[in-house]
């Protein structure tokens, strides 16, 4: 199993969390704890970079939706850098590409 991992780095005034591996039921709770910790310790805007993900299922989707929902409540910006075609397809089918704040890496810079 290639569980999801999160690599956190600071870029400019944002905290970038690079997700890698498979984001599914078995790994969401770990990533969720990391995200909650980051949010609790930093008031800065957050970027989730999904390019390293090889798989995402509905639990992963739910995790991103909840992170987005918290960001809206906290008044911080959550941006997502879309992942591979396979991963991004999930966002297209669910139309979440319209609901979430997807940016390209270029835009982000």
């Amino acid at each position: 199993m290639n569980h999801a991992r999160a690599l956190v780095r600071e870029r400019g005034d944002r905290t970038v969390v690079e997700l890698a591996g498979e984001l599914d039921l078995s790994s969401v709770s770990v990533i969720e704890q990391e995200l909650l910790a980051i949010e609790a310790s930093s008031p800065r805007d957050l970027v989730l970079d999904l390019r390293g993900l090889s798989f995402i299922d509905s639990s992963g989707l739910r995790l991103i939706l909840e992170t987005d929902s918290r960001a809206r409540i906290d008044g911080r910006v959550l941006e997502l850098i879309p992942g591979s075609e396979k991963v991004h397809r999930v966002f297209l089918i669910t139309l979440l590409d319209r609901r979430l704040n997807f940016v390209t890496d270029g835009e982000f810079r």
Binding site: L25, F55, D57, S58, S59, L61, R62, L65, E66, S69, E85, K86, R89, V90, L92, I93, T94, L95, L96, R98, R99
Partner: protein, 876 residues
């Protein structure tokens, strides 16, 4: 014989023990000399004798006085002759009345203390003979006397030594021997006070160890003063003896300025002292001192005698010290030998056991050390089959002990030995060492057995348990797991093993039985059928299950059977199968004892011990855990399947002119309720609804959302025609009732049959678009992606219509169908499309089968996600 003159002072007032005996000895001594005939003897001849010869007439007047008499009594012949004998020689130890002196008796013999001219008493053996005239009339007395003082002193010394020897021989400790020896020396050699001083070998300080005296106040004062002293070499009388390493004779201690106890000695009236070292291999270990109230002259023979006594006492001290050390070290050794867990034996050159400690006795299997040492070697050896670590016979000649007896220094060996009587295997790390005598011959071999049975069993057990883990867990079937448990226990742990479980009603049912002899399995099963254990029986199996406490019957004796320590079913097994040793261990999982495993060895197998019980408990624990897992799994699967089925239509409705086929595969092992669902139902007047959806997550939570989704859609579909409206209603319901963002994705297809037409309206809410295969045409997607439901209050949803011609086929599916593809979702989707394209003309169920086979058939593992699929086909 030396003359008198160096004799003792003060002897006269002492009595001689056993005078008559000495007297007769003296008589013999003198009678061995040539007979003396007085008449006509030359004075010259008389003077050659070392015997004092004095002749008197009947009136006692001295008529003859030879030279030795001059020496012995101090009177010159000239002075003596003519005077009366009683005037010259006073007898001090008899009651002399004038005219009645023994010296004037014509026939008398005995020892007499006779006062010599200088006043000293001479101890003389006197023998009087009558002097007769030629007519035979007695005319005088010839008295021959010899100085026996020296002889008596010698005898006294001999006696003193022999007394001391006896005392030392009888005594166990110096504390006991010393006062008695001092007393014997004092009494025999006529000293008034004796003391023994011992030197501390480390500090070289002398202390008074024992004193003997007559018991007067003054003597006790002297004793106290002595005991209070601590003397270093050179100080005090004993210290000077040590320093000079030689005996000292002090004529008068009061005139010796170096004498420390002068005042006390004065009060006790002590005068002369003799002190000598107690030597041991040249080293002074103590000093003995003796005091006399009389003034005594230095007596070298006394010193010689004392030195002999001293060395005797020295040897005693040495021997006792050595014995005590030996006893101490022996006790210590024995304690160490007995205390260690190592078995220690000592073999003599013939291989026989000379020594064995208790651990060795236990290892070898005897009840007592005595029984082991008393048993012949052949009997001891015949109890075992000696094997190497792998279980091959181990040549007796190669045993370390045997090799050591041959003078070799063998390496340590792991010896496995099977106790013939019990069949039990034990392991020992055995080492042996030879001990040689001075001639280089082997005196004995010391064997050390380090019992490693426990370690070996643990290793073995760990290996077996490691093996059985996978064997047990590979079945997800509860009963099968327990049957495997029984099979795994035989023959490694038991000859017979039965696993029983208690059902909800309390009945105990034997689920599995295994016996190393397959023929006996049937017998065991019959027994189990015949003897249903009473669950309330206070013994055996029911008791173990009830209390979750193991029972061990190391040896199943007839007595134990009569006492009903086993329940009826185990009892009958024991009797019919000839079982020897039984263990019953509970099967416990999640703090509940749900059964028990009984293990037994059959005659003449080994007896179980605590180690075996622990192992059996371990085995049972694992077995119980795996069985419980299997049961949980089974139960959960059953619940999940039931729930899942409640979320799926039991049968699909028959739609005129259309074929519908549904497929569902739970993810993984099917023990969890999946989130996928589909539904097909009529909304009335030729309208039908096909729904397929996927609820985020799994388990009861997801099932709840699935149920909500399914029934909300059914309800809403009765009110709303437009699928997007139905789904909006669902979205609102989800948002209202669920705050946990358990979203779902749904594709809703409304089928409207009218006038030979079949129009579909498709709405996708976050769900993959259906595939539409036109008869003879390409495969296309229908519908437009819309927002998933349950998260946003304003989902973007679109209704798209597509008409189905005869033979046209639409496939609704969930992600699991295409995601599981080994080459990815896109390939999965493409495969689905191509399968669909190539199956034109097949019925809906046949198409569903083909898709399943193409997309799921290649898998070796169950799908990771649920898979649901609906195939709708318009009949051609």
């Amino acid at each position: 014989m030396r003359g008198a003159g160096n004799g003792f002072h003060g002897l006269g007032c002492h009595h001689f023990p056993d005078r008559s005996r000495r007297a007769s000895q003296m008589a013999d001594l003198t009678s061995s000399r040539p007979p003396v005939h007085w008449v006509g003897f030359e004075a010259y001849l008389l003077d050659q004798l070392d015997v004092a010869v004095v002749a008197t007439d009947l009136g006692g007047t001295v008529t003859q006085w030879n030279r030795f008499a001059e020496t012995l009594y101090g009177w010159d012949r000239e002075d003596a002759i003519g005077r009366t004998i009683t005037e010259l020689l006073a007898v001090v130890d008899s009651e002399p009345t004038p005219g009645d002196s023994p010296l004037t008796q014509p026939e008398w013999e005995g020892d007499l203390h006779i006062r010599a001219r200088d006043g000293k008493a001479v101890l003389a053996h006197v023998r009087n003979s009558p002097i007769r005239d030629p007519q035979g009339r007695v005319v005088g007395v010839a008295s021959a006397s010899v100085d026996v003082a020296e002889r008596v002193r010698h005898e006294q010394r001999v006696e003193a030594r022999s007394k001391v020897t006896r005392i030392l021989a009888d005594a166990r400790e110096l504390e006991e021997a010393a006062p008695r020896a001092l007393e014997a020396i004092c009494r025999t050699l006529e000293w008034d006070l004796g003391a023994l001083w011992l030197m501390n070998r480390t500090s070289k300080v002398l202390a008074c160890f024992a004193v003997w005296h007559g018991g007067s106040q003054a003597e006790r004062g002297f004793e106290a003063a002595s005991r209070a002293l601590r003397l270093t070499p050179g100080n005090g009388l004993p210290g000077r003896v040590v320093e000079e390493a030689d005996a000292l004779w002090v004529d008068d201690v009061l005139s010796d300025p170096k004498f420390k106890r002068g005042r006390e000695a004065d009060q006790a009236g002590l005068c002369t002292a003799l002190a000598f070292p107690i030597l041991l291999q040249g080293e002074t270990v103590g000093v003995m001192e003796f005091f006399s109230r009389d003034h005594r002259q230095r007596d070298d023979s006394m010193l010689d005698a004392m030195s002999l006594i001293g060395s005797q006492i020295g040897q005693f001290i040495e021997r006792r010290t050595a014995e005590r050390e030996l006893a101490g070290s022996r006790e210590q050794l024995v304690a160490i030998f007995q205390g260690v867990g190592e078995g220690i034996t000592v073999q003599g050159p013939d291989g026989g056991l000379l020594f064995a400690n208790e651990a060795a006795t236990g290892i070898i299997g005897y009840d007592s050390v005595e029984a082991l040492l008393g048993a012949p070697t052949e009997e001891v050896m015949s109890r075992f089959e000696i094997l190497d670590e792998e279980g091959n016979p181990f040549p007796v000649d190669r045993l370390p002990g045997r090799r050591a007896l041959r003078g070799e220094h063998p390496p340590e060996e792991v010896i496995r030995y099977r106790v013939r009587q019990t069949g039990e295997d034990r392991w020992s790390l055995v080492s042996a060492k030879p001990t040689f005598d001075q001639a280089g011959r082997v005196r004995f071999a010391v064997n050390i057995f380090h019992d490693i049975t426990r370690r070996k069993r643990r290793e073995d057990a760990a290996r077996v348990l490691a093996e059985i883990g996978p064997a047990l867990s590979s079945s997800l079937d509860y009963e099968e797991t327990l049957r495997r448990l029984a099979r795994l226990a035989v023959p490694r742990f038991a000859d017979w093993c039965a696993v029983s479980v208690q059902d909800e009603d309390g009945w105990i049912r034997q689920l599995a039985v295994a016996h190393k002899d397959p023929a006996k399995v049937r017998l065991s099963e019959e027994l189990a059928e015949r003897y249903q254990p009473d669950p309330n029986e206070p013994v055996g199996l029911p008791q173990v299950i009830r209390t979750a406490t193991s029972e061990l019957f190391s040896e199943v004796t007839e007595t134990a059977l009569e006492r009903h320590e086993l329940d009826q079913s185990t009892l009958s097994a024991v009797r019919s199968l000839g079982l020897r040793s039984v263990m019953i261990v509970p099967l416990v999982a999640r703090n509940r004892s749900f059964g028990a495993m009984a293990l037994a060895t059959a005659e003449p197998g080994r007896r179980y011990g605590m180690e075996d019980l622990e192992l059996a408990e371990d085995l049972a624990r694992r077995g119980a855990l795996h069985a419980d897992n299997a049961r949980l799994f089974t139960e959960r699967s059953r619940v999940a399947t039931a729930l899942q089925h409640s979320l799926l239509p039991p049968t699909l409705p028959v739609i005129p002119g259309l074929e519908v086929a549904g497929r569902y595969h739970a993810a993984g092992t099917g023990s969890e309720v999946g989130g996928d669902f589909y539904d097909v139902f009529s909304t009335g007047q030729g309208n039908w609804a096909l729904v397929i959806g996927d609820v985020c997550g799994k388990g009861p939570e997801a099932a709840g959302v699935t149920g909500l989704t399914r029934y909300t859609i059914r309800a809403a579909a009765m009110q709303e025609e437009r699928p997007s409206q139905v789904l909006r209603t669902l979205n609102e319901a989800l948002l209202e009732q669920r705050s946990d963002r358990l979203f779902c994705t749904v594709t809703y297809v409304r089928v409207h049959l009218q006038d030979g037409k079949c129009r579909t309206t498709v709405t996708c809410a976050g769900h993959p678009q259906p595939l539409l295969m036109r008869s003879g045409g390409p495969v296309e997607t229908v519908g437009r992606p819309g927002t998933l439901l349950g998260v946003f209050s304003d989902p973007d949803l679109w209704d798209r219509t597509a008409d189905l011609g005869p033979g046209d086929c639409m496939v609704l599916y969930t992600d699991g169908l295409v995601e599981g593809h080994s080459e990815g979702t896109a390939v999965g989707t493409a495969t689905l499309a191509s399968v669909l394209g190539s199956r034109a003309g097949l019925s809906a169920p046949a198409i569903a089968d083909a898709i399943e086979e193409a997309l799921l058939g290649e898998r070796t593992t169950p799908p990771r996600d649920d898979v649901a699929m609906l195939v709708l086909r318009r009949q051609p």
